[in-house]
Symmetry: C2
Subunit: 344 residues, 2 copies
């Protein structure tokens, strides 16, 4: 701490190198390098001297340089779209927590438009990441590029559209929608409106298709309004459904929570309706605001913790063994019986 400057000289003002550590420890540079290489062979006494010198100098082995040699960067690319959508921050926090806990770092790509994917992928290849987790839409050629570059990839709530199999973790959207529809039907709802997500979004599409199919099986034909997953488009979708049906709507099924919240706001504000007495509104995701007293949304909560844990586990397995076959894991959501729908 204090005292003898000969015993505790200040660290050099430039960043200390392995050479400085070797000098101070009185060992070869190669011994320093072996000391910091996983599995490197070195005598215990030498290791102790190197570690002591490194600590005193504030030396940090260069992770990127070691990664180059070990063919591992411990970097995982996370590509995520719609970061300001309320669902994704929770996903990103979960992925980052899981990856950090397993000694990997997150190289983040926040995509705002589909056009940005190619530019992001160029960077993914350049940084020699160990793997990637993608919660954004990839084309078939983009997916094939991962194979070509030998970068393991796991899709999050996305899936390949048939051609080549790709590992993915999904929440069972169709199953969740069937749960909602069955309970709404059992409670006597007959005139249904659906508010869809963006047309190019596979998750949103699978939810609305599942709800529509289930309703058609029950002999009903729902009206569908377009939406874009945000609050405003939910409010607007609700107004469109009311116009198209002269107000004769019993239940509105929204492709996500944020649009359901917008629909509830529009029902109250624009039509003076009571939710759920006059109309039932349900969502999907289980985001934080869905539980707020003004909404208490009836929804299906995605098991985000288990999903992010599964995605990270599957990816790191494939980093360790790139020959593992692709795997698709589908986790079931939980029905949250809030107060925005009359359920049977």
């Amino acid at each position: 701490m204090s005292g003898d400057p000969a015993r505790h000289p200040p660290p050099p003002s430039r960043t200390p190198t392995s050479y400085d550590v070797a000098q101070r420890a009185g060992v070869s540079q190669s011994a320093v390098s072996r000391c910091f290489r996983p599995g490197g062979s070195i005598a215990p006494e030498t290791r102790a001297r190197v570690l002591k010198a490194a600590r005193e100098l504030g030396y940090q082995p260069n992770a990127i340089a070691s990664g180059l040699k070990a063919k591992r960067s411990n970097l995982v690319a996370v590509l995520i779209s719609n970061l300001t959508n309320l669902y994704y921050p929770e996903v990103l926090a979960g992925l980052t927590r899981q990856l950090n806990a397993r000694d990997n770092r997150v190289l983040l790509f926040a995509l705002e438009t589909e056009d940005e994917v190619d530019a992001a992928l160029d960077q993914v290849w350049r940084y020699r990441v160990d793997g990637a987790i993608v919660a954004a839409r990839l084309s078939a050629p983009q997916l094939r590029a991962f194979q070509r570059h030998r970068v393991p990839v796991v899709l999050y709530n996305r899936w390949s559209d048939g051609s080549d199999p790709v590992s993915s973790v999904c929440c069972d959207s169709p199953g969740g929608e069937r749960m909602l529809v069955d309970r709404l039907l059992a409670a006597g709802h007959r005139r249904f409106g659906l508010i869809a997500g963006p047309e190019d979004n596979t998750v949103g599409r699978s939810r609305i298709e599942a709800a529509r199919t289930r309703l058609e099986q029950a002999g009903l034909t729902p009206v569908v309004a377009g939406g874009s997953f945000d609050h405003d488009s939910g409010a607007q979708g609700f107004r469109r459904l009311m116009m198209a049906n002269d107000g004769a709507i019993d239940a509105v099924i929204c492709a996500n929570d944020l649009m359901a919240i917008g629909a509830i706001d529009a029902a109250r504000e624009d039509f003076g309706l009571d939710v759920p007495r006059d109309v039932s509104v349900v969502g999907f995701d289980g985001v934080g605001p869905a539980a707020w007293a003004s909404y208490r949304l009836t929804t299906v909560r995605q098991p985000v913790n288990r999903m992010t844990e599964a995605a990270v586990g599957m990816l790191l397995e494939r980093v360790a063994d790139p020959d593992l076959p692709p795997e698709v894991r589908t986790l079931t959501g939980t029905l949250i019986t809030g107060a925005s729908a009359r359920l049977g």
Copy 2:
């Protein structure tokens, strides 16, 4: 596309190297390396041949290896706490967008507790990032470690507590609170309650202190309830203020929007109050849900785009010239006159 395999051989099954490109282009490896080094000198015809061969082979120059040589990794660490707080996803999206636009990548550290900072910083040093933007609390020794490791840092809505100057970008929280208090006073509010943020959060503290000081200057003594920046603690804070004052509260000033939303929900749900007729509630931040029809929060919106742009600009200036002196930039927020407060 199809046809002659001699003209379009498949890319080699291993990742192509600069050696493969040199072979295919019929040039030296050093020419390939000059072609991909910014400012590298190379004849236009040679460059064209190298680029063609690289494209055909799917070759990507190794950014990390180039970064090591150029002493630049083009990696910027972003340390952010409370990623699931509604304000930070917008900040992270802004920082990532700005950094990517300037050809830098984001190495993300999502911190859940203060204890995680040291572990994150160890990784920051190891990855030889060019710089760091920190929206989390750092101790004085942690701030000094940035100097010691010669990693430029810009704080986002945080500031050093006096000892060493550090660059930072902040929204003018005290100024924003004074605006809110003055308008509430002008509208005749006299009995004030404040809901504070976490005790160790400097932003929250500066907001509540500024509001309290302004009220005391007006001869008023507000009641203060503790909170933790989330919806539940806002609701609970509101209940505590009502209990402590036998319901005699005119206006509630919350250290952020999320708690203000919780306070509004509690006012309506638990006390049957009309907001703002019976009580005015104001927040701070301008997050998305503040604008929803159920709340229409009166608040101060932080200029997130300008703040993230400033933070990235200041950081990259210091990466280019580490000797630039620290700089503090304070940007003024905008008063949003929603419908949750009677303003004068």
